[in-house]
Symmetry: C2
Subunit: 198 residues, 2 copies
């Protein structure tokens, strides 16, 4: 349980860690009930039954709370069961990624954070440091790499695999279809397996 950023959380020890947990639960609930835009620091405090100063004591922005509230869920949802065939492995991951970004509360939170990151440097650092999608993508790629001799280095390969999925959702809100995901993995895996075509 990191103390988040904000410096140390105060000299005295927290009388109740439960205040932190109440806030995180409140944020979880409010996110699905009213969405990110309608969430306010004041509203979070009231919903959590907590003083406003208590919220500010541990987090300095909505983004920090949201990230802490959704990180573990996100990591769990993007950690797909390995499949025997590489193509199935990649496809299962991309489908999980799509579900995450379009329907999961944690995914919606992540998209909101990604949005804030575009005009707030501090949030950008938070998102980059968490790197939820990059980490999950790399895990899958590590399993597939032995079967794909021509796969580029991790950063580019991860971008090639997940980038199209992420970008389309961020730009339009509508994900690639399962058929498109299948075509994408097939083409990419083919290129990674076959080697450069000069």
């Amino acid at each position: 349980m990191s103390r988040t950023a904000h410096g140390q959380p105060a000299p005295g020890r927290p009388r109740s860690e439960s205040a932190r947990i109440a806030v995180l639960h409140a944020v979880d609930d409010m996110l699905v009930e009213q969405g990110y835009a309608a969430m306010t620091m004041k509203g979070i405090a009231e919903r959590a039954g907590v003083g406003r100063q208590t919220v500010y004591r541990w987090w300095s922005t909505k983004a920090e709370i949201l990230l802490e509230a959704s990180t573990s869920d996100a990591a769990h949802e993007l950690d797909v069961e390995p499949r025997a065939r590489p193509a199935d492995d990649l496809l299962a991951f991309l489908e999980a990624l799509t579900t995450f970004l379009t329907t999961s509360p944690a995914g919606l939170a992540y998209r909101a954070l990604l949005g804030e990151a575009q005009h707030d440097t501090a949030v950008r650092e938070l998102v980059r440091a968490a790197d939820l999608i990059g980490t999950a993508t790399s895990a899958v790629l590590a399993r597939v790499r032995p079967h794909a001799a021509a796969m580029p280095a991790p950063p580019l390969a991860a971008a090639q695999l997940a980038g199209p999925v992420v970008a389309v959702i961020l730009e339009t809100g509508v994900p690639l279809t399962p058929a498109q995901l299948a075509d994408h993995t097939r083409l990419l895996l083919g290129a990674w397996t076959a080697g450069p075509q000069r």
Copy 2:
């Protein structure tokens, strides 16, 4: 010069189109001077030497103004000169896209809009309707398609080409390197040319 959304801009015709232009110029300037986050409707009006009501008369949100102010610049910057070889054509486009998203004022505006779109449905519709990146990408792909027999249908192909570039910038703020862009185009073009590897 479209009248933007907002319904009709009012029954009477604009006494001076110059008010609109002043606002658009002010937004352009303020975007580079203070960034999107610091921009306010009040500030825009004052900077443009215009009453606040005048701003609200023609645009209902900051996002609408920003989109109108940067659309033509964006389209121009993403319209790259065709190259003889398909690989060069794709690479030149991706480099232009990278420059656009990381250094151009219009590109920064577009990223800010993309950010807002993640928690504002109305903005999402605006961005989707404009579809600046998708349009530019499709134009390039149309030139390359004759040389790439196995290229998927336009929506997927566009996502495969531009998605990784866009996603990495949105997620980290740091673009793919020129070398990575070159590797990406080479691999993609190879896969599109060679056909499915089953």
